[in-house]
Point group: C2
Chain length 304, copies 2
């Protein structure tokens, strides 16, 4: 395969990724309907954050991993939308002045900058709540046990033992000596848990067997970690225009991250190793996984 | 019945209310387990807020209304605990400096005062998330459809079309001319929705018929509104020692409330009228509702 072929296939992949993002945005647009009356500002803020341009990577993985098992499309789309609501809420709250204090996100002013802090807190709360409403609704799947599994796993992935726990550790990490183990654990909770949920949801909706489930767990685990390391590389190397968010935040806050602990070259090597591992997990799915394999390279080279 | 009998029965009622509160606290204590490691602060903050002394009125109504239908006790207790998690999260977020900026709650410093703002945001987020995890867990009920109904209704009651929507309206109400209709609507969302959920959950778990459901909807509607009006009366008449929270906030913020619109005597009359109405809804349950009837007087005379 020549370099041209590789570039060609990445472009096809991007087209596909954008298509998925558009479809998820349509679902979100319907689920977060504009409101009349004095609470209209709340819905405006929810829509401002959730409908902003994003790659919709987590939804992409719900859909693409679910397609391995021919899981029902409506179920996948609604679950993907719910997951994106949780991701969006976490960005809104993480950006607050009392947290990471960020001014830009997804290429636009953060919610508390564009509206105000109270609206940002409430819009985050409402998006988190909406995620569970979407999943529990009969439209997501006819089987109540399956819907409950989706709710329970999302709650675990995003709560105190998952994403929120990771964010708490991150907030306190200025005071705590950080080594590679503690950073890895923090990131597994803070960003890894929601990526892992994309895989779990796909397995639940697709009726995956144990072998398939383990393969997907391995894939999302390695991908999630690689994603975070490449994010730390971007924090050092990127600029705010390309990323649509502030950079150099960790160094500024005196926080350790993968790059400060491994060095730039060590971090790059780790990303490559994890990328290879992630792809190997998908070998059992053969050709059906080809878009997933492409996604690994795309996700880990995010300056493209 | 002499006055002594009435006082006697109120004391019995208080004993019963305290027993229910203790049982719910035991469930919460088990569900919000202390954690080791750097995220321990998150669980400490969740426990600080959720295990603080409270009357546990919403849990009381889940249990007491569910008992009308002999609904399974474990289901009721777990649902009551989930509802209390949502109520507690809403208090933590409402007390934040960017919201109502309160220093005291349930007789102790608010979470952002005792810990810090970031911890308060995250502890609220985690308690909201935990509520849905509790409801979706098989321990709450064997039937997945019933668990999903509990999740969906709680999400609706607490989200943008419910409690959070009401809080948004309240935050903006300094800028908006408030009449009795708009205040009533705001309160129906902000505090009424969770009280109504206590009734809905009891009906779901108890398999209530349409007549019973309407009766309970009427009861929680009138009770919720009466509760809010009596809260506004306390805001004018109470003091911080008795209430365990700041008073005179509405007047200070220049906000209209039921007392400023109806006057003290008008507000008191409205409470009495709603209390009578609330009790009438329960007539179909005859003697089985006697603790519920007592609860109305207790709840609406909260200086006792």
């Amino acid at each position: 395969m020549s370099m041209d072929d590789v570039e060609g296939s990445l472009t096809d992949f991007e087209t596909h990724l954008n298509e998925v993002a558009d479809r998820v945005t349509v679902v979100l647009d319907r689920l977060i309907a504009p409101a009349e009356g004095p609470e209209a500002q709340l819905m405006r803020a929810m829509r401002y954050a959730a409908l902003a341009t994003g790659k919709r990577l987590r939804p992409f993985y719900v859909l693409q991993l679910g397609t391995l098992f021919d899981a029902p499309e409506t179920s996948l789309l609604r679950t993907a939308a719910a997951l994106e609501c949780v991701h969006t809420y976490s960005l809104i709250h993480d950006d607050l002045p009392c947290m990471d204090d960020d001014d830009f996100r997804r290429g636009q002013p953060t919610v508390h900058k564009h509206f105000d802090e109270a609206t940002a807190v409430l819009a985050g709360d409402a998006l988190l709540t909406l995620a569970f409403e979407i999943l529990a609704d009969r439209d997501t799947h006819a089987d109540g046990h399956i819907r409950c599994k989706l709710v329970e796993k999302l709650a675990r992935a995003s709560g105190a033992q998952g994403m929120v726990g990771g964010q708490m550790i991150d907030m306190l990490s200025g005071d705590i000596r950080q080594d590679l183990n503690s950073i890895t654990r923090m990131q597994r909770l803070k960003t890894g848990a929601l990526i892992a949920y994309a895989g779990e949801a796909a397995c639940i909706l697709g009726g995956a067997n144990e072998t398939e489930r383990h393969a997907i767990q391995g894939f999302t685990h390695d991908l999630g970690l690689a994603y975070q390391i490449s994010d730390d590389l971007l924090d050092v190397e990127g600029d705010v225009e390309t990323l649509g968010k502030d950079t150099g935040k960790d160094a500024e806050a005196g926080k350790a991250n993968f790059v400060s602990l491994l060095g730039v070259e060590g971090a790059r090597q780790r990303v490559r190793l994890l990328a290879t591992q992630a792809k190997e997990h998908l070998a059992i799915f053969r050709n059906r996984a080809h878009l997933l394999l492409q996604s690994v390279d795309f996700v880990l080279d995010r300056r493209k």
